[in-house]
Amino acid sequence: MLLNKSDVEKIAHLARLEVTEADIPLYANNLSNILNLVEQMNVIDTTGVEPMAHPLDASQRLRPDIITETDQRELFQSIAPQVEAGLYLVPKVIE
């Protein structure tokens, strides 16, 4: 598929990009190359090819249902601008 000058101008307008007149042939050529690559890939017959979910055949790992994290509230609240009685204070957003 070949993009012409007006295609490039339209794409540039939609992307709100300023493209100089002299650069238009370059962009037309580069963008056409991308579309040509897609066409090239479309030619390949992929029937019967199983989609690859993970290159390392990993599956979801489960962990024992035991407590691993301890209370670190003081540490986490030490960087908060304002706290009171263990709670974060935030600016009032609803009147």
Binding site: L56, A58, Q60, R61, Q72, S78, I79, P81
Partner: protein
């Protein structure tokens, strides 16, 4: 100094040609001179760098240094760094001092690397030009009128301008590979599951991967070796042995 590979720097440090503190100072000096123009850093951690470097020198002296001991690096500001601002390029996290280290950060710390600072990036990694950061756009060192790419644009610009030998990046849909290409350096998006996402601010959890950005495949291999590996704190981390990436460099890439 700033044009040497990681392997060369490591050999020089072992040979005592210069200390890790001297190496850190050399890079900190370059950052001071060039970052104003490039805006590749959100935070420069000078004190931390010198502390890390002194510890690295002690390890080098004691003879228990690894290949990355004393090597300065930049962390993308998406990785939580204990005690250091972790903004993710956003005003929302401008006052967030991470209370813990991301696994990747902890691993690179254990390897003895020296933290120079945190790299600028597109806000929450959502961009491909590094123009969306709250801290302003990053410039491409090759042409400051051009973008460095993104979202790991600060990392790419820092390495390209030799403000650090290596930087970390993260890639969801090209955020390591594209800025690496635009800045003329090497970056790897590792296979999903290789590098722990623990402490790495999420964009799209089923696609995000952290990886190294450096000047060569060799440098990336050395750093990826330290970043990769199983982490129980990341539910999609894969528990398979990490190959010796540096040893595979001589195998031709054709299959």
């Amino acid at each position: 100094m700033h044009n040497k590979t990681i392997a060369e720097l490591s050999a020089d440090l072992r040979a005592g040609k210069y200390s890790s503190v001297e190496l850190a100072r050399a890079f900190l000096d370059r950052i001071k001179r060039h970052n104003l123009q490039l805006n590749a850093f959100v935070t420069v951690t000078e004190d931390q760098a010198l502390t890390d470097a002194r510890a690295a020198d002690a390890r080098l002296q004691a003879g228990n240094a690894g290949p990355l001991t004393g090597i300065p690096l930049v962390q993308k500001d998406i990785f939580c760094t204990q005690g250091v601002k972790t903004s993710c390029g956003s005003k929302m996290l401008d006052n967030f001092i991470a209370p813990y280290d991301a696994t990747t950060v902890a691993r690179l710390k254990e390897a003895g690397t020296v933290l120079l600072g945190k790299a600028n990036m597109d806000e929450f990694a959502m961009g491909s030009s590094n123009e969306t950061s709250f801290y302003g756009p990053v410039k491409n060192p090759w042409d400051t009128a051009a973008v460095p790419g993104g979202s790991s644009g600060g990392s790419a610009a820092a390495v390209a301008a030799r403000l650090a030998p290596v930087a970390t990046g993260t890639d969801t849909g090209g955020s390591i590979r594209q800025p690496a290409a635009l800045c003329g350096i090497t970056g790897i998006k590792p296979t999903y599951g290789r590098v722990s996402r623990y402490g790495m601010i999420a964009f799209a959890s089923s696609l995000d991967q952290g990886g190294p950005m450096a000047r060569s495949a060799e440098d990336c291999a050395l750093v990826l070796g330290a970043m990769a590996g199983f982490d129980a704190r990341d539910s999609t981390s894969v528990d398979i042995p990490v190959p010796d990436y540096a040893a595979t460099l001589t195998i031709p890439s054709r299959g």
